[in-house]
């Protein structure tokens, strides 16, 4: 039996890694991949806490998150592909149309 703290530590590590990737990497593809990491960190925490509580709710919620992540990735990569076709780059710094 893996101790709960190890599970929560792994989840937190994955989450922080994902957060770092989203915030500080400049490549859109990597940013999307980091987003997956971020979501999976939360999934680990959800499943670990569910097992600790002795119910299946955590696992069920994680399944919902996975479905949402899949659809998010599909839409996200489609957008990234469209962006790349227009600008021939994945660089996030060039994507500044919202600047005031």
């Amino acid at each position: 039996m893996i101790p709960i703290n190890a599970v929560l530590g792994l989840g937190l590590l994955l989450f922080c890694l994902g957060l770092f990737g989203v915030l500080f990497r400049k490549n859109l593809v990597i940013m999307l991949m980091s987003l997956e990491l971020l979501l999976n960190g939360i999934n680990v925490i959800l499943i670990g806490l569910g097992r600790q509580a002795g119910t299946a709710r955590g696992s069920i919620f994680a399944l919902f998150v996975i479905v949402m992540a899949v659809s998010e990735a599909a839409v996200g990569f489609a957008l990234v592909l469209a962006y790349f076709r227009q600008n021939k780059t994945y660089d996030i710094d060039r994507l500044r149309k919202l600047r005031g």
Binding site: F24, R99, G100
Partner: protein
């Protein structure tokens, strides 16, 4: 019937004037114009024949009311309101005038076909000529002064149009203007006289005015004033002192025009008018004396100027002024029928002279200067013959038309005791004979001088021009016999015929005295011719040159036409021009200044308000915008556009929310 007389020329004007320029050929235009006048002449002859057989001395034809009584407003205390009819009267005087106008007019129209053959504006010329004939007939047929005034103004207009026929020539255009403006002065008097008669008598019907004046309905002063005002019109139209200066200049027009308008018909309109109102003038007395003296003075004065002219047409123009002076002289001494008699014979021989002069000018291709003519007798035999007949007639050579009419006038002057007038007339007769034969001897006798006459072959005019000349020459010979005086065994048929119109004017002279006067005037005429022969044929003009040198001052004064034109130009024309210039300056500086000032004021005010707009209103609006920009400038820095900045903000926001939830719950 007589109403047809003026109708034909009117139709001619309409046809030629509307269609002549575009659609009708030269031949058709000429035919229409001549045909219209010919029909008019025919109507005149028929009307005349009927008048001879009729019991009534005059016929009146009223076409309707022209100016209704409601329009004619008279002075308070004057006669009751009257309407003015569009009415025409035909009597002995009108018969003579229509026969002269249409008869002489017909011959001149025919002559014009030849004379104006090389002219381009045929339609314009013949339309004007027909219009003139129409207006002149309205003038002599008008039953009242208002209708006559239509014709009076109409002939003035046609005179202006025809003097300026060659309007591209400056002198012709100016001569037309001069004639028209000078005539306006007279017409002004005519209108005032008409108004005075209308206000005091309540009628301007010519017969009624005569009847009322003879009946004593007018005071002497009013009658004199009205008569003199009307005479002012006659002076302008008939070119008498002091309004004669336009007639010599009018010679700029084509020669048939000079013959028709400025010799035979229009310029005698004044004589006709005075003769028509004979009772008014007789009643006034003073007016009649003025008429006589003006006529006598003009007769001599114009004759002196004719002595020194070098332009063949100008000699004839001054001669016309002088002869019309004779007519007024005759009217002035009360011999109204004699004045009209001279009017008629003058129409014959003066139009003959003008047309013959036109034939000379035509043959010499426009040369009018007597100094460049000479010896034309052999080249232009027919022109010479008819010219000689005309000159003899005007000089008063016994047996020709001018002799009888002029002699009747002079006899009347002597018989009524106007000895000064008679002496002036006799002197004028001598001058007339002299200047006419000076013209003949210089143009037709002597060596053929250099100039067109010698260099080019000179042709006699075509038959279409010569035939009217022969007819007029015949009339100039026999025209006088219809007024053959009693002393020569005649019965003065002409005077008797005119009696219903002009009244009876017996010349109280013993037969021997009258015969003596006749011989005297014939002797004066022959003396004038003989003097001209000696001076210009025998001595080749040497005595004339010597005289001109010895009296160089006088010669200069006469040859410059007594400086009258200069005085008129200096005083009247320049005065008018100066006044006009002053008015123009007033306009420019004062009126324009006011207008421009108002405009400048408006401009200044509006530029002020523009300044306010620009600075205050726009400033406020722009200021608001600037404040917005500055404030928003600070705020927009927040929106960097970097995705990770927004992501960071989201995460911080979540952290804050979570910490809030944790601390509160």
């Amino acid at each position: 019937m007589f109403i047809w007389i003026p109708l034909f020329p009117l139709v001619g004007v309409v046809v030629i004037g509307l269609f002549g320029g575009r659609f009708l050929s030269r031949r058709i235009i000429q035919g229409t114009a001549v045909g219209a006048v010919a029909l008019s002449f025919l109507a005149s002859v028929v009307s005349f024949a009927r008048l001879l057989g009729a019991a009534e001395p005059s016929q009146v034809k009223t076409l309707g009311v022209w100016i209704p009584a409601t329009v004619v407003r008279l002075l308070p205390g004057g006669a009751a309101p009257v309407s003015i009819d569009l009415a025409f009267r035909y009597d002995a005087l009108a018969a003579v005038m229509t026969l002269v106008v249409t008869g002489v007019g017909l011959l001149i129209h025919i002559y014009s076909i030849g004379y104006m053959a090389h002219e381009r504006s045929t339609a314009r010329f013949f339309a004007y000529m027909n219009l003139f004939t129409f207006a002149m007939l309205i003038l002599v047929l008008g039953a009242n002064l208002a209708v006559a005034f239509i014709g009076w103004e109409g002939v003035g207009l046609c005179s202006y149009l025809l003097i300026g026929f060659w309007f591209s020539k400056d002198t012709a255009a100016n001569a037309g203007k001069k004639a028209f403006i000078t005539n306006r002065v007279g017409d002004f008097g005519f209108l005032l006289g008409t108004g005075l008669l209308l206000a005091t008598l309540g009628t301007i019907d010519l017969a009624q005015v005569n009847a009322l004046a003879a009946g004593g309905a007018l005071s002497k002063g009013t009658a004199t004033a009205a008569a003199l005002l009307l005479f002012l019109g006659a002076v302008g139209k008939s070119a008498q002192i002091p309004l004669y200066t336009w007639l010599p200049d009018a010679m700029e027009g084509p020669t048939p025009v000079s013959a028709l308008i400025h010799a035979a018909t229009m310029v005698t309109a004044g004589v006709y008018m005075v003769a028509r109102l004979n009772a008014l003038y007789s009643f006034s007395g003073t007016a009649l004396t003025v008429v006589g003296f003006i006529g006598a003075l003009t007769a001599v004065y114009a004759a002196t100027m004719a002595l020194v002219q070098h332009d063949i047409k100008r000699v004839l123009a001054y001669s016309t002024i002088s002869q019309i002076g004779y007519m007024f002289l005759g009217l002035g001494v009360g011999a109204f029928s004699a004045g009209i008699f001279h009017l008629m014979t003058h129409a014959f021989f003066k139009s003959l002279l003008f047309l013959a002069a036109g034939s000379v000018i035509h043959a010499l291709e426009g040369e009018q200067d007597l100094r460049r003519m000479g010896g034309l007798r052999r080249r232009l035999p027919w022109t010479y013959r008819v010219f000689l007949i005309g000159a003899l007639a005007i000089a008063g050579f016994p047996g020709l038309a001018g002799f009888f009419s002029k002699d009747e006038i002079l006899a009347a002057a002597f018989g009524t005791g106007h000895y000064a007038v008679w002496a002036l007339g006799l002197a004028g007769a001598g001058l007339t004979a002299f200047y006419m034969f000076r013209l003949i001897f210089r143009a037709f006798y002597g060596p053929e001088t250099s100039g067109p006459g010698a260099e080019r072959p000179v042709h006699e005019s075509p038959p279409v021009m010569l035939r009217p000349l022969r007819v007029l020459a015949g009339l100039s010979i026999v025209g006088g016999y219809i007024g053959l005086p009693h002393v020569l065994g005649g019965r003065n048929w002409f005077g008797v015929f005119l009696e219903p119109s002009t009244g009876r004017h017996e010349i109280a002279l013993a037969a021997p005295t009258e015969f003596l006067l006749m011989v005297l005037s014939a002797a004066v005429a022959v003396a004038g011719i003989a003097a001209a022969y000696i001076v210009y044929v025998r001595r080749d003009g040497a005595p004339a040159r010597r005289l001109a040198e010895r009296l160089s001052g006088l010669y200069r004064v006469i040859s410059r036409k007594y400086y009258v034109d200069e005085v008129y130009n200096g005083v009247l024309v320049n005065g008018t021009l100066q006044t006009a210039r002053a008015a123009a300056a007033f306009d420019r500086w004062v009126i324009d200044g006011l207008v421009d000032g108002a405009a400048a004021l408006t401009r200044g005010l509006s530029s002020l308000s523009m300044l306010f707009d620009g600075r205050a209103i726009d400033g406020a609006v722009n200021g608001l915008a600037t404040v917005q920009r500055t404030l928003s400038g600070a705020l927009r820095r927040v929106q960097t556009g970097y995705v990770y900045n927004y992501a960071l903000a989201v995460i911080f926001g979540i952290l804050v929310l979570i910490s809030l939830v944790v601390t509160i719950f």
